[in-house]
Subunit: 341 residues, 2 copies
């Protein structure tokens, strides 16, 4: 079904699932498209003179803005740093655009930019340019803040990671348990008032990715499973690489608290956003080196091999279930996806 241009935007258009993809592919790309944008990679790779740069942008509209394990400020740096890291690019410079609704507390702005700074310092990046806008508060609700960050990185020489590089026989790794960011944010929502010990997995991934690419420059794909979760990341790789991905449910790490929260919230952990995990695809000969680097890093200690790449059926992701069956993992559709990135 095509996007009807007389229709209006639904929340589901922003969920990171099929409706988001339709909006991008049927409405935005035909207008703005060019060879770089159409790759739809986490960052654009562009050349300036002899430098291969990665350039990315992300807007953060998370609710609530403070959650266990972070806030919209630290998230806005992590998200952009990780998008650069997923292209094998060392993050260098960040721009930060704040859009603030009138009535927002200045002390909350201080808290937010302070935690953004901490992630910058951890990663060796700087916010070098910024912009601040204030907009009227629409209605009676709590004033909101939205943050856009864009980032520039330099790609490591000799590295060619892309979601289109997976080949039959390759191995699929996830760098830790899934579903923690999304469930932590959902449980922190005021109207739920859930008691939980779940903390977001949010962390800047560049340090670990740099070690990985230095040791194994032949890594094929890196993708961070943010909006749409692990399901969307795997669907992106299967589609871009025209291959099939088979994963084992038993091997996908999910903490029991997260599994419990997902049951309560009616969510599939595969669809829940993460902010400190990466999907790594590598050749079978590289998997021991990949696992040894990842497991030696604090953010990758719980890395696990979860599946393999097959030639067919093309562009599909299949899950071997705990009960021994096999089911299709679909690109999540927007309706099931809370807006929590």
């Amino acid at each position: 079904m095509e996007v009807d241009r007389d229709e209006v935007i639904l929340l589901a258009h922003g969920g990171g699932g099929t409706l988001t993809h339709k909006l991008i592919k049927e409405v935005l790309l035909p207008e703005l498209g060019n060879a770089v944008l159409e790759k739809l990679d986490d960052s654009a790779c562009v050349s300036v003179d002899r430098n291969e740069l990665a350039f990315t942008t992300d807007s953060f509209v998370i609710d609530p803005i403070f959650f266990p394990g972070g806030d919209i400020g630290s998230l806005s740096i992590c998200g952009t740093v990780n998008d650069l890291a997923m292209q094998g690019a060392r993050p260098l410079f960040i721009s930060m655009g704040l859009i603030i609704e009138e009535g927002f507390f200045i002390r909350d702005i201080v808290r937010i930019v302070r935690s953004a700074r901490q992630i910058c310092d951890m990663t060796g990046v700087s916010v070098v340019t910024g912009d601040t806008k204030v907009i009227p508060r629409n209605g009676m609700e709590q004033p909101r803040i939205f943050i856009n960050t864009a980032g520039i990185g330099v790609r490591l020489e000799g590295v060619d990671v892309s979601v289109s590089n997976a080949r039959p026989g390759d191995v699929v790794v996830i760098t830790g348990p899934i579903g923690e960011h999304g469930t932590a944010v959902m449980c922190a929502r005021g109207n739920l008032k859930l008691q939980s010990t779940i903390t977001s997995d949010m962390v800047p991934l560049w340090g670990m990715v740099e070690s990985l690419l230095n040791k194994v420059p032949s890594v094929r794909c890196l993708r961070d499973p943010t909006r749409g979760g692990l399901a969307a990341a795997l669907c992106d790789i299967a589609s871009a690489s025209s291959c099939c991905i088979r994963i084992d449910e038993a091997k996908v790490p999910v903490r029991s608290e997260v599994r419990g929260a997902c049951e309560l919230l009616g969510l599939d952990p595969l669809n829940v956003p993460n902010e400190g995990r990466a999907v790594v695809v590598c050749a079978p000969d590289d998997v021991d080196d990949v696992m040894s680097v990842l497991k030696s890093h604090p953010s990758g200690r719980e890395s696990a091999v979860i599946g393999e790449i097959y030639a067919e059926p093309v562009s599909l992701v299949l899950l071997r279930t705990l009960t021994g069956g096999e089911r299709l993992v679909e690109m999540p559709s927007g309706e099931n996806l809370p807006r929590i990135c």
Copy 2:
């Protein structure tokens, strides 16, 4: 008076005047500050290997989103292209982050990105990376759209323009009549229902700036008088260059329709945003070349010499009025500044 951290954000914090400056200098810079950000130039200048890059970001929250002479889409490209041009940088790559309130018409998104594309094509830049988020509509008002663009440019070799480079004896030029963007937008607001023939001056300035810098690489300062208008741009230069700027009211071009609209709206044309003008400061020996290049370009035909740089009184902007007096031009304070960039 310091910013009180227990206070909340007011619309005036976003107007581009003194309150905006306080928020940036007292709240944001102490947290995020570094040598590049603290320059508060229109773009950050950073080096990657041997390339001097300019990097800038701007969020567009204009109301209404369609106005005579443009819309939020074309504006989002012009604004960022012009910020790069003001650093003497050829604009190359743009990122675009859309934040859309649910209920927004998809056909309006098409119209907006299409007009963004037109400006890209005029300027030779591409949107190479993007992001789309959807947020709940807060309250019963019309759904809104906010656009952030960030841009990367490469600085022309041998050019060193900066707001801190003005020297006593230099000449101050404006590249056309002022106040058109702001008054066009104000008159287009639904609750005003003003009939007017005023069209925004919005235009990408790179072509003209490139010709100017090729002919006169010794140009000292370039600044586009956007938020806060010509007054803010001149105050920025006087302050950064520790000099005095004297301008002649009689020489500052203002169309009669704009003057009339400003009287009606209670605005000073000096404070009204422009989106297609630049302040150029150059040595007196260069002024003939500067004026000849500017006047030969469609966007600069009405360029005018409006004043000179003096050593003292330091950091002040003074206006010789039509009646022969002299008054201080102050950095506009937020309260007087409608949010129309």
